[in-house]
């Protein structure tokens, strides 16, 4: 028998019906309503697919209507035309529902519903759907594999090779079965390392699968990682911005176990991204998972602080000109980075500019800074850095560590950073061997290669100092214990000294690597270091730490920007100078730094109304890595901005101990200063004495 439904997409059988007619205008229903003389045509109704449902469940009637006449207002009316009468909720909407009746075991009941869609002129179309109500049976298992597509880089890292796209498992992610209509979670699990999952749900339910871009584990080890979009829902705090999910279409859970595999695809259309880039958030997630496994491989009890990874198609390397929050909301993040104050990674994703999702070494490099933040310690002052830069030793160590960790965790010395139009450009760093000359304690690539060579067990490469391997555990232990607690600034010196103390067997390898990288200083302070980076002013690069006795004995020390460029990065060798002192007598102390006469002679006369052409020494001092400067009356001691002098007395008694200091000429990095007119070298006379 054929059931007529005007303009219906399918033919159906006619059954005895009970008509319930909702309020509507003229025009018939169920019959053919063709176009009228004025050109109006009847709308088309779609009542959805026939299906089976369980008794005593709320069943969704999901219908729709379409009309060739643009702008026509459509009204909806659901009626039941066959079966045990039920009450239809929201019968005047496209989406309605009813409670499936109780049925006898083994005796399914057929209910038929008609959706009538009527336009403003009274023309209508209708369609019907059969819903078979069955007694609820045993729960069913839905299982399968969740995977994502990964695009490797070309062997030389010049671009991504989309033709070599491979499928990888989505590991340790949250997998859910949701009610297809309400998205309520019906069951949840965590995928295994093969991407496998299995979930038990009620039979005969309309459901969907969801894989959340998150890693959640409680107990030991524990972690909490989420991949979100920082550029959407920007009225919400960052940590509540939308989480990425991979969702299947709706399907019937049926009455027997079934397998459902889901894949996050790249969205690549052959020459550009033409679809949703579903793979990207899961590629980010998996790189982080790999890094965490490297840590749990040596410390099964590691507990990772919650981490948000923000990736977006809108994240570009444009430098935003607003506030931090505005720039992040707009995706103008400049570069990929880690922000310790909110334990968050920010990763580039703007196509045809720079994307990180498949540059896993880049992701793990930034994660390496998260590791420093939550497990170790970093005294890095940040700032731009590039290949061959002679850097502040704290920056050199932090950056070298992070890149080395990427090679260790990913077990690959090939650091790729792809970018450009169609992601077809890029560059490669060989983590094992790309340390430009001059190598040394100020060279992040020396630090990178040194740490990597401590770990790798490749055949001995005596010429690069790589005469052995100690594995990752001693390196990890050093970072989380001795480096974290060092009294010195974090540098390759404090690291190597701590490593040999942690693992005396590493001494021969450390000796060989030191020799190759020309790192001659010993102890946590780099005593006796002779490598001055070929500086024009060697005395401004060395010694690494200058001793100062807190009894008023003066010391002259210079801040020199010879290794910086016109961008005034302020993070290069010789700009920040380090001192150390030992306090044996707890007391309040007076710090006095005066720009010396030779430097002042190079400056114009001081105009109190504008000090930007005068020297501005800054001083910070630390005990066991903790800054000791205080804020007094709203001003930070040591950063006063007074021309040619910095003097302050500690308001508190300084405890006995070994302190380190960081002295710098602020003008070397001040954007307001005319650096072309300001001397490249500022020298200071410094004294520290007990306060009277």
């Amino acid at each position: 028998m054929m059931r007529h439904a005007s303009n219906s997409p399918r033919a159906r059988s006619l059954l005895p019906v009970v008509l319930l007619i909702a309020a509507c205008g003229g025009g018939g229903s169920g019959g053919g309503n063709g176009g009228n003389g004025g050109g109006n045509v009847a709308p088309v109704a779609d009542a959805g697919s026939d299906r089976s449902v369980a008794e005593l469940t709320t069943v969704q009637l999901t219908g729709s209507g379409s009309d060739a006449n643009a702008g026509d207002t459509l009204r909806y009316a659901w009626t039941q035309v066959a079966g045990i009468p039920v009450t239809i909720d929201n019968a005047d909407r496209a989406a309605a529902s009813f409670l499936a009746p109780d049925v006898a075991a083994g005796v399914p009941e057929l209910l038929t519903f008609r959706l009538t869609v009527t336009d403003a002129a009274g023309l209508s179309g209708s369609d019907e759907v059969d819903i078979t109500v069955q007694e609820a049976g045993a729960a069913v298992t839905i299982s399968g594999v969740a995977s994502y597509e990964f695009v490797p880089a070309n062997p030389n890292c010049v671009g991504l090779n989309y033709l070599a796209t491979e499928t990888r498992p989505i590991r340790a992610a949250t997998v859910q079965v949701l009610d297809a209509a309400s998205n309520a979670v019906l069951a949840e699990t965590t995928s295994d390392d093969a991407g496998g999952y299995a979930l038990v749900v009620d039979p005969l339910r309309s459901v969907r699968l969801r894989v959340r871009a998150e890693l959640k584990r409680s107990g030991t080890p524990s972690w909490d990682v989420e991949v979100r979009d920082n550029t959407l829902s920007t009225g919400l705090p960052l940590g509540q911005r939308p989480l990425y999910t991979l969702d299947s279409g709706a399907f019937d859970s049926g009455t027997t176990d079934q397998q459902r595999n889901v894949t996050a695809t790249t969205g690549w259309g052959g020459s550009s991204y033409t679809g949703v880039r579903a793979a990207a958030p899961f590629a980010v997630l998996d790189a982080i998972y790999t890094a965490m496994l490297a840590i749990t491989g040596v410390d099964g009890a590691a507990n990772f602080a919650p981490l948000d990874a923000f990736w977006s198609v809108n994240n570009t390397n444009a430098q935003g000109s607003g506030t931090f929050d505005e720039n992040v909301a707009a995706g103008e993040i400049g570069t990929s980075f880690y922000l310790g104050s909110i334990d968050s990674l920010f990763l580039l994703g703007g196509a045809n500019s720079d994307t990180e999702e498949f540059d896993d070494h880049v992701i793990v490099h930034e994660w390496g800074h998260y590791f420093e933040d939550v497990f170790s310690r970093s005294d890095s002052i940040g700032g731009p850095h590039g290949f061959g830069d002679r850097l502040d030793m704290r920056v050199a160590f932090g950056e070298g560590w992070a890149t080395a960790l990427s090679g260790i965790a990913l077990e690959s010395a090939s650091y790729c950073d792809t970018q450009g139009t169609a992601q077809a450009n890029g560059f490669r760093i060989d983590i094992e061997s790309d340390a430009p000359s001059p190598r040394g304690w100020y060279n992040e690539f020396s630090v990178m290669a040194l740490i990597y060579d401590l770990w790798d067990d490749s055949p001995a490469e005596i010429t690069t100092g790589d005469s052995g391997s100690i594995g990752f555990e001693p390196i990890f232990r050093t970072m989380v214990d001795r480096q974290r607690q060092t009294a010195a600034h974090t540098s390759v010196f404090s690291f190597l000294d701590g490593l040999v103390a942690e693992d005396p067997a590493s001494q021969p390898l450390v000796t060989d690597l030191r020799a190759y990288h020309d790192i001659t200083g010993s102890g946590i302070y780099g005593d006796g270091e002779t490598n001055d980076a070929n500086s024009a002013e060697p005395a401004d690069a060395l010694p690494v730490y200058t001793d100062i006795v807190p009894d008023g004995t003066p010391v002259n020390i210079c801040s020199n920007r010879e290794h910086d460029n016109a961008n005034a990065n302020g993070n290069r060798l010789s700009e920040h100078r380090f001192l150390r002192m030992t306090i044996t007598q707890p007391a309040r102390y007076e710090f006095d730094i005066v720009t010396d006469a030779a430097t002042v002679a190079q400056l114009p006369p001081d105009d109190p109304a504008d000090d930007r052409d005068q020297s501005d020494p800054d001083l910070l001092f630390y005990l066991d890595g903790a800054i000791q400067n205080r804020v007094v009356n709203g001003d930070s001691q040591g950063l006063s901005g007074v021309a040619n002098r910095e003097t302050f007395t500690t308001p508190n008694v300084l405890a006995a101990g070994d302190y380190v200091m960081d002295v710098v000429e602020f003008r070397h990095k001040d954007e307001q200063t005319d650096r072309a007119a300001f001397p490249a070298r500022s020298c200071f006379d410094m004294t520290i004495r007990p306060a009277p």
Partner: protein
């Protein structure tokens, strides 16, 4: 593009930009000036990933208007005497921005020994209002091979609202959570 929705978000309207620098660490608060310095935070921002030893700065010369050529001066600051380097430009969306006629897409530049920098002007023609981007890449020869530094230069043309692309569909869950639902390939 399938499954994309452009959302206009009110954003600060920019006039012609003054010099903007390659941040290294980006999206940071402005640098402190004398008298406004603060003690450094122990959990600060990382400097960003390794890259070529070059800093990119730019200056938009004038106010961009639809249909009118506007010049952008690009300055490259090379660390440690890099010689020479290659500068290339790209525009992602030709519907938004075009190069001026005869504008080369790639050029080799020598670094001035005295200033440690090189300058180049590129002229583009905005095709519509909005926040438009010119991509600039500096390729620097090093011992490790050619390394790159890239930057997207934003141009605010007229009503320069940020256009945000949604990689999927924003959905609200029954518990109020907001997610971006991305369709799965299924088998």
């Amino acid at each position: 593009m399938n499954n994309t929705i452009s959302l206009l978000i009110g954003a600060a309207l920019l006039a012609a930009c003054n010099a903007e620098t390659d941040p290294g660490g980006a999206a940071a608060p402005p640098a402190a000036v004398a008298g406004q310095k603060v003690l450094p935070a122990s959990d600060a921002r990382s400097p960003g990933k390794p890259s070529a030893p070059v800093t990119i700065r730019y200056r938009v010369l004038g106010t961009p208007y639809v249909g009118q050529p506007v010049a952008i001066e690009i300055e490259l600051l090379a660390d440690g005497g890099v010689q020479p380097l290659r500068l290339s430009y790209a525009i992602n969306d030709p519907d938004s921005l075009l190069f001026a006629a005869d504008e080369p897409r790639e050029i080799e530049l020598g670094i001035d020994a005295e200033t440690g920098s090189a300058r180049r002007q590129v002229t583009v023609v905005p095709q519509r209002e909005g926040r438009l981007y010119l991509n600039v890449t500096a390729e620097v020869p090093t011992e490790a091979g050619a390394l790159l530094k890239s930057m997207s230069i934003p141009l605010a043309v007229g009503r320069a609202d940020v256009e945000t692309e949604v990689n999927g569909e924003v959905q609200q869950g029954p518990d109020g959570e907001t997610v971006i639902s991305m369709p799965a390939g299924e088998s």
